[in-house]
Amino acid sequence: MGLLALFRSKPNSASIAKERLRIIVAQERGGRGGPDYLPLLRRELLQVIHKYVNVDPEAVQINLEREAGHEVLELSVALPEKPGA
């Protein structure tokens, strides 16, 4: 780090890395231990939804929640603001 660097403000890339990892790790842990068909189910559901609404693939979330005695499959679709956008 030289003299010039003192006057330059850089974005802190370590905190960006940490934030990105926090999100992806949480997401991947959520899918872990679930049935093997979950990724395929997600892809097929996405295709069906796509036939009717033009959604971003990222906007479809599938989570499997385990509670005592039963499992809940949660599907969340964030629809675009303007239909067909």
Binding site: G2, L3, A14, S15, K18, V25, R32
Partner: protein
């Protein structure tokens, strides 16, 4: 009692073999009987890092196939009397390792009263990596403070929790530890590299050691002398500490801050 420790990471090139070699030496230096096994079938490398590549006659797969006895295949280290190396085979046959074969070799080492068996895992999550972790009592997950390494480590933690003998049999699971390598305190201070605390927080695991980035690691592999044996090296001291923690000693982490530099060095770079 024999303890089986897997050194694993998911991602390649983060320092698994360097760590396996140094931890094995560190334990042997404390008088423990240690066998270190290379599970990277087809890509043998532990022998080079240990400096015994010209003494490999029989390998892990030879023992499994009954081509030789375990005793014939174990290479006695020339520096540390209680340390033994079992080299990986160079075969291209992916199915050379079997669960039954690995179990037999580990059982025989246990019967020979080794204190520690270090399993040096290959990268990835294929068969070799699976078998390296399958019988482990403990895992040392080697991670670089870098996004892909951290993510892969988390994947490995998931496998340790679900695809091991201990997890399948409800024996309390595999005890997991994090070991950070290539840690650069100056870059951490500049906000260019995630800190120990960051990695620990993301993975939610105890840190057994932090090895600073050091030219001594390459020098050690060049020479075939595990870096822990270099008495002047910070990396060696860090591995020494990690071994002590593995044995239950409580030591504060060292080398987390850059060595102090003078005023001129800081002002004008370097």
């Amino acid at each position: 009692m024999t303890e089986i420790i897997v050194v694993t990471s998911g991602k390649g090139g983060v320092g698994k073999t360097t760590t396996s070699a140094s931890m094995a030496c560190g334990l042997a230096r404390r008088g423990k009987r240690v066998a270190v096994i290379d599970f990277d079938i087809g890509l043998r490398n532990l022998d080079l890092i240990m400096g015994c590549e010209r003494r490999v006659v029989y390998d892990f797969v030879n023992v499994i196939n009954g081509d030789c006895t375990l005793k014939q295949a174990l290479i006695k280290d020339k520096r540390l009397e209680t340390l033994h190396v079992l080299a990986a085979s160079q075969t291209r046959d992916k199915d050379a390792l079997t669960e039954e074969g690995v179990r037999r070799v580990l059982d025989e080492l246990t019967a020979e009263q080794f204190d520690y068996i270090i399993c040096d895992s290959p990268a990835g999550i294929e068969k070799g990596a699976h078998l390296a972790m399958y019988f482990a009592d403990r895992a040392v997950v080697v991670v670089n403070p870098e996004v892909s390494s951290v993510r892969d480590s988390d994947r490995i933690l998931g496998l340790l929790a679900s695809k091991t003998h201990r997890s399948a049999n409800g024996n309390g699971g595999v005890k997991e530890h994090l070991l950070l390598t290539r840690y650069n305190p100056r870059r951490v201070a500049n906000g260019e590299m995630m800190s120990v605390g960051d990695v620990k927080e993301i993975l939610g695991l105890d840190v057994i050691g932090v090895v600073p980035e050091s030219p001594d690691v390459l020098a050690a592999s060049n020479a075939g002398v595990p870096v822990i044996l270099n008495e002047d090296s910070d990396a060696a001291a860090a591995y020494g500490d990690a071994v002590a923690r593995l044995l239950g000693e409580e030591l504060p982490l060292r080398f987390l801050e850059e060595p102090k530099r003078g005023f001129f060095a800081r002002m004008f770079g370097g």
